[in-house]
């Protein structure tokens, strides 16, 4: 049951507990105030009664000695008619009780008749009327019985050590209660005012805290496999612990996203490597018999013994085999190292080769190069990587209004970096996933081998290729390591 109370959302718990924390002290303080008021009222009654009782007990003594009932009556009646007491704490009745426990005189003879034994006056004098009740003969006393609706004060009346009787001043508790309720209502109103001010503040503050936390909790609940959404930091703009936690959460989302991207990349390169090994194996198996077949067809053609029909058939077979060889050749990418190192003029050649295509597509092509005279990287491979990337870029940019292609090639650190961007059609997640796989093409007439070949070349040279696509451009970045020893030679 109690746990159930604590299992609720912070959205309810923070304002509720806040309200409890506000209401409890308010109620407690109000109660304390009321308790003190009761005590204060009682003290003021006791103080008033003490002053009255001391005077009366002294002035009554002669009347009691002379048995002057009328004078005694006038004395006990006087305080009842003059309302000189503070806080309306006028006594209810004043009674003089003889040592024989009879009423000598009282301010209200109808209810407390003279000479009546007090044991018959339970209604008026309980608990003093109890037979075993001992009225102090030496000092004033306050009598406050739990069941009684009155507070009594007794004062001994004595003349030179002779005890003449007791003066009993009675106050109804209703005076106290009236005062008590007055203050109770006041403090209840005050408490309400405090609550009216504090509860909305508490509610606002609770919402301010709870809403971002609740949002965060629901975001984190969504973490399973995929990286979750980021937290909108503007909904909590402070740098306290909560703000730090939201920031840390966002950092974690970043890390998760990076990790996911890395995983995707590793997965993709593993697949590409496997495909590479498979195609190379198949190509070799096909190339061996293919060479034999082409050689024997050549031999037959050179002999010139073939009739026309056979010669046509052989020609057909030969062209088919050659097409197979070309395809196999394309699949069997080889960097063929150390043939010739890269020089600036290789890049000039690339530009020249692309000129026709650029002109027909009305593309704005700019190539920035910053390489030394000789870079120890096989020139053929680099030329083919450049050609493939730029060929794709020019064709993609051709789709745009004003096609732009930018290429940049430079030695950065230990790497040769090639960066090619175009402002053509952007690539979505799916396209990016299988971009480098063979026979995947996005346009008619393509064989889907351009990027596959590029990837194989970059891989064989020990480099990396990355592709980024955003709203404005598609970017390919190739990093090729430059061999140390080759560079110096």
């Amino acid at each position: 049951m109690i746990r159930w109370l604590f299992d609720h959302s912070l959205r309810q718990k923070i304002p509720l507990w806040g309200a409890v924390l506000i209401i409890c002290p308010t109620v407690f303080l109000s109660g304390l105030m009321m308790y003190h008021t009761y005590g204060d009222s009682k003290n003021s009654i006791v103080a008033g009664a003490t002053a009255l009782g001391r005077v009366l007990s002294k002035t009554l003594a002669p009347s009691l000695i002379h048995d002057d009932l009328w004078r005694a009556f006038e004395m006990v009646r006087a305080p009842m008619t003059t309302s000189g007491q503070p806080d309306g704490a006028t006594p209810d009745t004043i009674t003089v009780i003889s040592p024989r426990r009879e009423v000598v005189v009282s301010s209200d003879p109808q209810r407390l008749p003279t000479l009546s034994p007090i044991s018959r006056l339970d209604r008026e004098l309980w608990p003093i009327s109890k037979p075993d009740f001992k009225i102090s003969e030496t000092r004033p006393a306050v009598i406050e019985e739990a069941g009684s609706q009155f507070i009594y004060m007794t004062f001994p009346i004595a003349d030179r050590g002779l005890y003449l009787g007791a003066l009993v001043i009675r106050y109804p508790r209703s005076h106290l209660y009236a005062k008590f309720w007055e203050v109770a209502i006041d403090s209840a109103l005050l408490g309400l005012a405090v609550l009216v001010i504090l509860l909305p503040v508490n509610w606002y503050w609770g919402q301010r805290m709870a809403v971002p936390l609740v949002k965060l909790a629901s975001l984190m609940k969504g973490i399973s496999g995929r990286p979750p959404e980021k937290f909108a930091t503007e909904s909590y703009g402070y740098k306290d612990e909560l703000g730090q936690m939201f920031a840390a959460y966002n950092n974690m989302v970043d890390v998760l996203e990076e990790k996911a991207a890395l995983e995707r990349q590793v997965l993709s390169s593993n697949r590409l490597a496997a495909i590479g090994r498979l195609t190379a194996g198949i190509a070799h198996e096909i190339n061996n018999p293919l060479s034999g077949m082409l050689t024997s067809i050549d031999t037959q053609e050179k002999l010139g013994t073939l009739d026309e029909r056979s010669a046509r058939a052989f020609g057909l077979i030969k062209r088919g085999l050659q097409q197979i060889r070309d395809t196999m050749g394309a699949l069997l990418v080889e960097a063929r190292p150390k043939k010739r190192w890269l020089e600036p003029r290789d890049l000039e050649d690339v530009r020249t080769l692309l000129q026709h295509e650029v002109a027909t597509g009305r593309i704005d092509l700019q190539i920035v190069t910053d390489i030394p005279d000789r870079v120890p990287i096989p020139a053929g491979a680099v030329r083919q990587i450049m050609m493939n990337l730029l060929h794709n870029a020019v064709r993609a940019a051709g789709m745009a209004e004003a096609g732009e292609v930018r290429a940049f090639i430079a030695g950065i650190g230990a790497d040769l970096v090639i960066r090619v961007t175009n402002n053509g059609e952007t690539l979505n997640e799916d396209r990016l996933g299988d971009l480098f796989e063979p026979f995947v093409t996005n346009h008619e007439g393509g064989n889907g081998l351009g990027l596959w070949v590029t990837y194989q070349l970059v891989s064989q040279l020990g480099g990396t290729i990355d592709v980024n696509s955003d709203e404005t451009q598609v970017e390919f970045i190739v990093r090729l390591p430059v061999a140390e020893d080759e560079k110096t030679s």
């Binding site: 002057d68 009932l69 009328w70 009556f73 009646r77 209200d108 003879p109 003279t114 000479l115």
Partner: protein, 294 residues
């Protein structure tokens, strides 16, 4: 020893101071002096300051002399002043009048409800619906007015004696309130079960404070007695002065201002009266051995 009321003390001090600075030849205040001392007992007017003041002014103007009312809280004190020749005139109860017969002269008797007479009323609280006479009050708490009051002490004791009981032990407790008005208060509040009161005081109070008398019930009315007389001090007041004062009093009903005062006092007028009016009171006193036998 009772202390003088503050005001009277001040007046006394002023008079004493006046005596010291007065030139020799002017007679002191007692006797036929400039100030006439008029004693009033708590029986009637004690609580009626305004009426008293009007009467004082009336008489002073008519006489061309200053009238000084001398009020005391008990009959005994006023009687003491007469005995010491410190009063010239007084309005006293029948009982003190008869006690001081050798020192005073009957000056005038007020007429009340057409007759120079009044009674003693036995009153109980309105809560008591059964009491019919003194016979029902044995063992009760009883309020007397004053030990020298006729209607408030002598008459009730006489009635108890007449029914064959001893007034000293008849009641469980008795006390004096020292004025008729306070007897009514004592009975109305319940302090006393019953009390004896002057019919003139009760009836007069019923006109001005009906809420007080309304808390009491008259259960018994005594026979008529001579109304409390106004007396002159036989030694202090000369014949001329006696006549002047008597004439003034008897003439009050004849003028407008005097009638107004009489009205306030709830009286008809003043008559000369005579000693025989008080014979029934003397008879009651004889029962208690307080008056010489015939």
């Amino acid at each position: 020893m009772k202390r003088l009321p503050k005001r009277n003390r001040r007046e006394f001090m002023l008079a004493a101071a006046g005596l010291l600075v007065l030139p020799v030849g002017i007679r002191p205040a007692h006797g036929e002096g400039q100030v006439i001392r008029f004693g009033v007992t708590p029986a009637f007017l004690h609580d009626r300051q305004q009426v008293l003041k009007a009467w004082q002014t009336y008489m002073s103007r008519r006489l061309g002399k200053t009238i000084q009312f001398i009020r005391r809280d008990s009959y005994r004190e006023t009687m003491e002043l007469i005995r010491r020749n410190q009063i010239d005139f007084a309005w006293i109860c029948d009982y003190p009048y008869l006690r001081l017969e050798d020192k005073v002269r009957l000056l005038a008797v007020p007429r009340y409800q057409g007759r120079p007479a009044y009674r003693s009323y036995l009153i109980v609280g309105t809560g008591d619906t059964t009491t019919k006479s003194y016979k029902d009050l044995s063992g009760k708490i009883f309020a007397y007015a004053d030990p020298y009051s006729n209607t408030g002490y002598l008459a009730p004791r006489f009635e108890i004696r007449r029914q064959g009981d001893d007034p000293a032990s008849y009641f469980r407790k008795t006390f004096f309130t020292w004025s008729h008005r306070k007897v009514i208060e004592a009975v109305a509040s319940g302090l006393a079960n019953a009390g004896a009161v002057d019919s003139y005081v009760w009836e007069s109070l019923a006109k001005v404070e009906p809420e007080l008398t309304g808390k009491t019930r008259i259960v018994w009315r005594s026979p008529e007695f001579g109304f409390p007389p106004l007396i002159a001090h036989a030694g202090n007041v000369g014949e001329g002065e006696f006549k002047t004062m008597q004439t003034l009093l008897l003439g009050m009903a004849a003028d407008k201002e005097g009638r107004k005062i009489l009205q306030s006092l709830n009286l008809d007028d003043f008559t000369i009266g005579n000693r025989s009016l008080y014979e029934s009171v003397a008879d009651m006193m004889r029962v208690f051995g307080e008056y010489p036998a015939r």
